[in-house]
Amino acid sequence: MSNNIVQFKDVSVTFKQKKNVIHAVSDVTLGIPKGEIFGIAGYSGAGKSTLVRTINLLQKPTDGEVDVFGKTFYKKEGDHVSSISTKDLRDERRQIGMIFQHFNLLEEQNVQRNVEFGLKHSGLKEKEREAKAKKMLDIVGLGDYLKAYPSQLSGGQQQRVAIARALANDPKILISDEATSALDPKNTDQILDLLKELNEKYGLTIILITHEMEAIKRICQQVAIMSDGKVVDVGDLLEIFVDSKNPTTRKIVGNSFNALEILKSMNIDVNKRNLIQLTYLSADINDPIIVSLYEKFHISASIIYSNIEKLGEQVVGTLIVDLLGGKEDQEAAVKYLEGQNIKVTELKEAE
């Protein structure tokens, strides 16, 4: 048995609209490891939301298998469908919290009642439900707003209430479906940090659907990239943001790590120069490398572009330099750089 808390196997979802058939999700096989913050990124319409909605069967797959907690929630083999019973599904849904872009709180109930709504079938007595709701609201920092109505709260606060509600049954998974997309940058960061804290404190597996790469970079450990209903790329942050050769991934994650794009935008003809891209984790760099290149190999490196970016806990630097010096010296210099844990990529455009 794998360590995956959610396993999609060949999952497809199609919608029929009169004469058109829309393949929202096609043939996705993907495992989501327990205890991680797993990002699913892609443009809107890529099928991210549809895919995660098959986890708690808010959306039934048209084909394929969805396993959660090691149990088969839904499986279609040929024409035979086996699905978890309605009652079991309700019980399991309480173990899978979900938060949404538009918060979706009960507008006519106060904050405390909103959190208690999910506890109706928890077996807790009324007083215990009240206490649990208060505890959850304390965790998200809204202990003072028990009697407030959602419309009296800011977007960030409403999303906190939604988180408290989603987590009231102590679920093992939290699905965040574009939960920060309607928030301003400050609230977005606060909500993301809260999610990260919940992940670290309670071992909560978080599935973060978003089109915002900043959110992914801030808290995710692994990322899947979706496009046109397919998962086109999966890997950890560095693999996706720095190393991925996948053109769709490159396009979606933006070009801050993509040297050729950068140089093109600077009107530099890469094939006429001796350009190399150095990518490194800042924590690994102890030597003053540019100076060392000159001292050791008489290579002068003129810096064309440099950038530094945070990926989760790691700080990744990108440096594009033009190497001037003898051919042999250059080769030795590259070797030296690679020995310093620096990834060296020669920049030549295919003609």
């Binding site: 808010l58 309700r90 949404f100 009960l106 006519e108 079938h121 109505y149």
Partner: protein, 234 residues
């Protein structure tokens, strides 16, 4: 004042207050008919309205045949003009109430007349609940029961009060026609004792009393709807 009134509204005064044709009797009959048919028609209307929403294709328990039947029943009853319904439904009234005429007998056609109208209004009110809220409640493991009572009816409460007010007002209008089957009430007062006897003063006072009742319902409904609404607070 009393003398002035007696001179200018002689027919109004001669109707008396508590007699069979008296004003208090008429007002009570109107209130009686409005109240009970609102209860019966209201319950039926809410049940049909809820069914129209939950059995719809995008509802929480999609069921096309049931939706189709309920939808057609509601449309059919709405299509029958009330004054014809009064006569048309008389045999049913006879079975239920034991008589075809009188104030209590009028409750049957009134309830049947108002419920399809109310059902449509309830349907629209419940459909105004954001689908995202339903979905998030489902993600919390809510049962269909929770969704109907805890989400649909609860979230749409302000809208439901508003449409109930509208329905209640149109029900007051229907009771005026119930005079045709001897149900009494203010409508009957205005037609039978006012218009038919050329007693315009009686018609005027009966009309004013109906308008006052409608205004009271409207004001109470508006205030209550506003009070129940937490969604649009600043």
């Amino acid at each position: 004042m009393g003398a002035w009134f007696a001179t200018h509204f002689p027919n109004v005064v001669s109707q008396g207050l508590n007699g069979e044709e008296g004003w208090i009797t008429a007002v009570n009959q109107t209130i009686y008919m409005t109240f009970w048919s609102a209860i019966f028609g209201g319950i039926a209307g809410i049940i049909f309205g809820v069914c129209l929403v939950i059995f719809a294709d995008n509802g929480i328990m999609p069921c096309h045949p049931l939706f189709w039947i309920i939808d057609k029943v509601v449309s059919l009853f709405r299509a029958v003009p009330f004054i014809i319904l009064l006569a048309f439904i008389a045999p049913v009234t006879q079975k239920i109430v034991g008589t075809q005429i009188g104030t209590t007998a009028a409750l049957v056609p009134l309830s049947v007349g108002v419920f399809p109208f109310y059902a449509r209004q309830v349907q629209v009110a419940l459909e105004s609940v954001d689908h995202g809220i339903i979905e998030s409640a489902e993600s919390l493991g809510a049962t269909n029961w929770d969704l109907i009572f805890g989400v649909y009816l609860s979230e749409a409460r302000s809208e439901l009060i508003r449409v109930s007010t509208v329905t209640l007002i149109s029900l007051v209008g229907l009771t005026a026609m119930a005079g045709a089957i001897g149900a009494g009430g203010l409508g009957n007062m205005a037609i039978s004792y006012g218009y038919n006897r050329f007693a315009n003063d009686t018609t005027l006072v009966a009309t004013i009393l109906v308008v006052i009742m409608v205004l009271i319902i409207q004001v109470v409904g508006d205030v209550w709807a506003k009070f129940a609404n937490h969604a649009d607070q600043g």
